[in-house]
Amino acid sequence: MSRHLKHLILLPLAVFLLQTPATAGYEETVQVCLSNLDQSRLSPQIAEDCVRDLHADPSILERLKDEKPEAASNLVAYNSALKDYKKTIASYKDLAFARQYERIMFSQACPLCDMNLGPKPEESFSWVAKYLPNDLGDFKYSVRTWEALGPVRTPLLSADGRTKESWNAMDVLDRYQALQSWAIYVVAQTTPVPAGVYPDKAQLARLIPVLKEDLFHPALAAQLDAYLAGGNIKPVVIGNPAASKAAKDKISRTSADMAALRGMNTGAQSATLENFFNGTGHRPAGDFQLDKKPGAKKPARPYTYTPLSDDQITALGPRLLAQGADGKVTGALANEIRGTKAGDEILAFYADKKYKSAGTNKLAFGLEPMEEGMFGGWNWVNEDIKINSGLVNDWMKKNKVTPEMLMQGDPAKNKHLRGLSEYLAPTFVHEATHQRQTANDKARGIDLVKAYGKSNSYYQMEKETEAFSMDASFTAEKFAKLPKAQRKAYLARLDPFDKKNAETYLKQGVDGVRLSNHKGYAARESLDGEASKQFVMAKSTAQQLEALKARDQATLTEFERQELARLQAEMNSRYKWYTYTMQDSVAAEAKINLWRQEIRRKISGNRTIKEGPVPTLLSQ
């Protein structure tokens, strides 16, 4: 991407204004939206208005794309990026914001970087101060900039050799991890001394709340509370001048949140830290060691939960699923999905030669530590499917399985891998459906980076409807194929969400899945009338085109012939992502509802549904 944005935009703008015959709405909109990209402006409100105006009148972009294609792309991409950045800053705080920030700044393309608003958050400070002054404090704290760290952390970190320059040189998530490492060290140094005899109790009172915040470990936080209480010391929370109280109150700090950030294994960490509280640890002599200490003998128990180690996390992915040189996918997870309509389609996708030559059906599957709230998924930038290793840990705990049981012997014969595959399969079907959607978009030459409104648009939600319907259909079909006596137990072994998704699909069809998706979205946003209208318009185009093409062409009137040509051209236009998404969603719904009919027949045992003219319940 060009860094000389100012020149790129203003020169064509000047030429354009001199040349083009005036069309009031077009000229004005383009001028306002392009001049907003001047480094001295970058107004997110104007950006939001621009995106809305472009939605309302698709002809503007249609015309600009022909006259000035690069200006058209930039207009959309950069105004969209500003709008989304403002929304993200207003919607997220703390670690949740840091995660969003990482996604925004470190994907394949970084429009905000081109506008000198990143990748370092400090580059955005004056912009945020100008346009989002009420969010500035929270923003600075959420990105853990040096000046926002507060009077408790800063002297201690400085004593450790940190400086503002070295600190702010780190990426945001690295700052969170650095604070966690620091907090671990300080806990190890401090807590072996009982609070009651601690030399500087006032300092301790201020320190403990900060450590709790940085540790992301609720169990340890509780123990730190107890530690202070043991010395009759009341904690003193130094109001961070940067952060709002409301933000801090709402923050959930789980150990898995933090461990997920840079591949730290939650279990190993927690086991070690707890040693300092149960008496089996001791103050480290020099550098803090994260090794397991030889602790007191644990009482013998039939099952001891152990989380996956880092090596096991890496090794488990290929044991579940692997792709051969011929493209075919094998392993316990492949076996689990084979023999169902949805599963067989996914396997066929990975084995398909056409996608293989485009390089779009490569299987990059694995496990990774993530925040506790994540399942994981298909990442179209990294082109991989990653599942949260925390899910596996939870599954092992629930089913009393150890890592060794998963890792031993021939994967093809390992019944625990089979069990785990059963649990992970709906997620895999869903995410593989997204990979297939990406592959289809690429095959049609659709530039995903420039497809504006992607993450939030109703078009993206139709892609979700297909993916959810595929995984629901998979689960429902597995359920239906089982002997009656085994069905309930199968559902009980799944994640409750997967069970519910299959239930919605069986009870209400693909429409039910669609509505469920929209409920989640609409709960947070107001329905955008403009997006809605455009959604309907694009669908209308696809349907009208289908209807005309289906006709005997010899019977078309001249007007209809022109309509067909016009609709076809519109389909081929910049909005092809929308129209293809709608076309695909039509085909997907028809197919997946047909699967549902067959599945329901299996479940009901091929009973004929009794049809009565009068509802028998109302005969009383």
């Binding site: 994540m374 399942f375 998924g377 239930e503 989640g520 309907v536 719904e589 549904i609």
Partner: protein
Amino acid sequence: MKNIFTAMLMFCAAGAGAAGPAPYTCEGGYFTLTIPAGWGQMPAGGQSAKAKQVYGVDLLLAGQGGAAAPSITVKFYASGNSVFKTGQDYVDSNSAPLGDPEPGEQYSPVTGAAVAGRKAYKFERKFNGYFGPREERKAPVAMFERHLVLPAKDGFYVLLFSAPFAQAKALVPQFEALVKSFKPKK
């Protein structure tokens, strides 16, 4: 030549933004009703109503916060539709849980009710819903649903109210008002 189908589609979508109470006529003319103030139409997706032989609308009460927006669904399932064979089929499928119900989930018996002066089925359920992106783990949300199923000539109607349980009691009068305004043509 104006494509009647397209015109109906645009007409149905005309009330897409949330506003005051609005009259609604379903594509194909299968029913009319009044959309209560504040409820907006969910954008249609997937197959056309004609292809599915399912006609009607999903309404959402958006921007309320929480995990799930309340919804009202009113549909006419024409004979031969791709989703349910009959109204009885719909009732059988929706009035019982799949597998064992989760703790706290409840299904009412199926009873009679009057809709547009005619005899209909009615049942309710309390159940756990999960809302949000696939990529995130979700906490269950206690949900309430009331289903009204009205047999008709060449098909059947469904009027379905769905909301988080905590909000349901306050919102159900709006559903009842919509049901009162509902006029089936079949």
